[in-house]
Symmetry: C2
Subunit: 353 residues, 2 copies
DNA sequence: TCGTTTTAGTAAATCGTTTTAGTAATTTTA
DNA sequence: TAAAATTACTAAAACGATTTACTAAAACGA
């Protein structure tokens, strides 16, 4: 309340140092200038050219002295820009989102943007609510990661691994056709003909397209996936458990196969455990192919052969695309990301038995 | 600009549906009431008791009809509350921060709080700048994860894995003494006497205390760590690479040991790779003990014996502690978290050779 | 019936900035 | 030397809410 105390014997009204943060008005009062002048000078606005250099110095010095920090809320309200974007991910600790987010952050912080992270946990109510509350918070745009867009994109939206063409949404998406060619081609070239498949979970944005392209690539080579060698991942845990369980149930069918095409590295790791518990060695008895190339893939035992998705880059590009949409306000076409195959030791030429 | 268009023949001024979001003033105009009344009713403030039920209904209906969403900036500016907290982590994709963050998010979203995430990447300039910009953004509090506090805590701060007693900072911290007893005790009880140690990287907040307590636990059992069996992790990559490199250089010394005490699971995984490349089998030749119990630990080959830090809970408790500080504004004492040991297959009784 | 209370609201201040539209004093130009 | 331009600023409006302090009309109480 009493931000300024009159010192009885002094000639100046000095702001109390400890009564909350210094506002522009406080500083103006302290310097005997108007807030307008300070604002112009501190923001180096065009009008500030008429302000003499030593007044400017006084202002900068005063700002430093009183530790003046502009109030973000007030400024954002006035200029109608928040330099904040909203990010929606399925879950944070799944080893996928975090790396994408890392790429997002790197691009955003370079542009002095911040972001609010929210997780939808595959819940319908959150998928509807999160975009709304983010927009209430005046985010300038939204990056969705592996997340279905169930809202009208009234502001720029970039979807990482989104496969639907939605008005106002730019997709940053892996070239799944190429990924399937690389993956299935690799196993085929190693001589594998009976390939088991761990299909992605129902709710994952990538499941459908990946399954479709992989199936096509297999069919094209005359080795269509067999239903009895296919099992779908269940549950949304970010642990290898889901791959383990799936492979267990597949093994219970008693079918023979020489290779496993897993939905991702995490499930591949779980699958390997299940195979070994069954006495099957990877890769000598069964080859296992992962997807993503998460950090753990290279150091697993055996090191995983996998289709690499450049997750950091995908996040980074998503953020940069969003930022450029905020500048230009025209919607760029979808961005294609090229996968690569990283051949390690979990896949092997099928033995001539 | 022209938010309202006069329909020449109509008797009402109808707000254009597509000229930006509806403000309270727009809605008030539309309903023929004052913003004051709407605000009172929509926020169910005490004064609203005098407003008759059907007026209230009109207001709610109108709000729904025009899709009115209060502007977060304006409201926050006025009430001086942002329901936002700042989070500072070293890096997002290290498998540690993401899980802690998950716990943070879970607690915050339950309380209708949002958070801004920032990474300091172990850079001094960012360690100084990030708290400042977060405070400029009017966060109500800060959660630091594994991060040194280099700023004056002028608002509530909770530090996860912080070991310094700092005015205004509540630490949520693992009971490292207990962790060391569990870890060293486990290896000792298995008969290990020459134990190699992978010391944490220079910059990690946990390095010093963990090293100190582990050393003490080893000394207490008469098997102090030997310098020649100790190596420090270098570099801040979140990959097992750093553990691999460290173990390589340790092995180059040609010393004998029967167990490795790793700084964390990630480095343990890298170390195992280095050992096996050297022809040493884990656990039959060398036992390896990890720390953290990340998801990958259970599914590694061999499954890692490790000291479990409940990372999700730590983040969750940190957030809940911060929220309660925001309510009470008294600083609670530090929160101690109990570790447990998860015995899997990477450690084994030392053979009687 | 007159004064008080209650009802049903509204006007204006406020939060802390930025920006638009000035203004008074000085300097330059014609 | 008078008009125009420049210099060095400031007052007030605006952003979009909330909150305090009112007010006019109706209802109530004695």
């Amino acid at each position: 309340m009493a931000k300024n105390r009159d010192t009885l014997k002094g000639k100046f009204t000095v702001p109390l140092p400890d009564s909350g943060p210094t506002s522009l008005k406080d500083l103006a009062l302290h310097l005997g200038l108007s807030p307008t002048t300070l604002s112009m000078v501190l923001n180096d606005s065009p009008q500030a050219i008429s302000i003499p250099a030593d007044t400017k110095r006084r202002i900068f010095d005063g700002a430093r002295e009183l530790n003046y920090r502009p109030n973000y809320l007030a400024r954002s309200l006035r200029v109608q820009k928040t330099r904040t974007i909203g990010v929606i991910v399925p879950e944070l600790s799944d080893g996928y989102s975090a790396v994408v987010l890392n790429g997002v952050e790197s691009a955003l912080s370079a542009a002095d943007y911040f972001y609010l992270t929210t997780s939808h946990l595959h819940r319908d109510d959150l998928l509807e609510k999160l975009p709304r509350v983010l927009m209430e918070r005046q985010v300038e745009g939204i990056i969705a990661v592996n997340t279905p867009i169930r809202f009208k994109a009234t502001l720029p939206v970039v979807n990482v691994s989104g496969h639907d063409e939605i008005e106002g949404v730019t997709n940053v998406v892996l070239n799944h056709h190429q990924a399937a060619e690389l993956g299935v081609g690799h196993l085929y070239n190693l001589g594998h003909r009976r390939i088991a498949a761990l299909k992605g979970p129902e709710f994952s944005a990538d499941t459908f397209i990946r399954w479709q392209t992989m199936s096509a690539a297999a069919e094209k080579r005359g080795i269509p996936f067999e239903k009895v060698l296919t099992v779908q991942l269940q549950g949304d845990s970010p642990s290898p458990e889901v791959g383990y369980t799936a492979m267990k149930s597949l093994l219970a069918r008693g079918e023979r196969f020489t290779a496993v095409l897993a939905f991702n590295d995490i499930s591949a790791i779980g699958a390997i455990r299940a195979l070994e518990e069954m006495g099957l060695r990877v890769p000598s008895d069964v080859s296992v192919l992962g997807f993503d190339d998460i950090y753990a893939a290279a150091f697993h035992n055996p090191p995983l052969t996998t289709i690499r998705q450049p997750l950091f880059e995908m996040g980074n590009i998503a953020a940069r695309t969003l930022l450029s949409r905020l500048k230009n306000d025209d919607v760029p076409p979808n961005v294609d990301i090229e996968p690569t195959i990283v051949v390690r030791l979990s896949t092997l030429r099928v033995s001539a038995s």
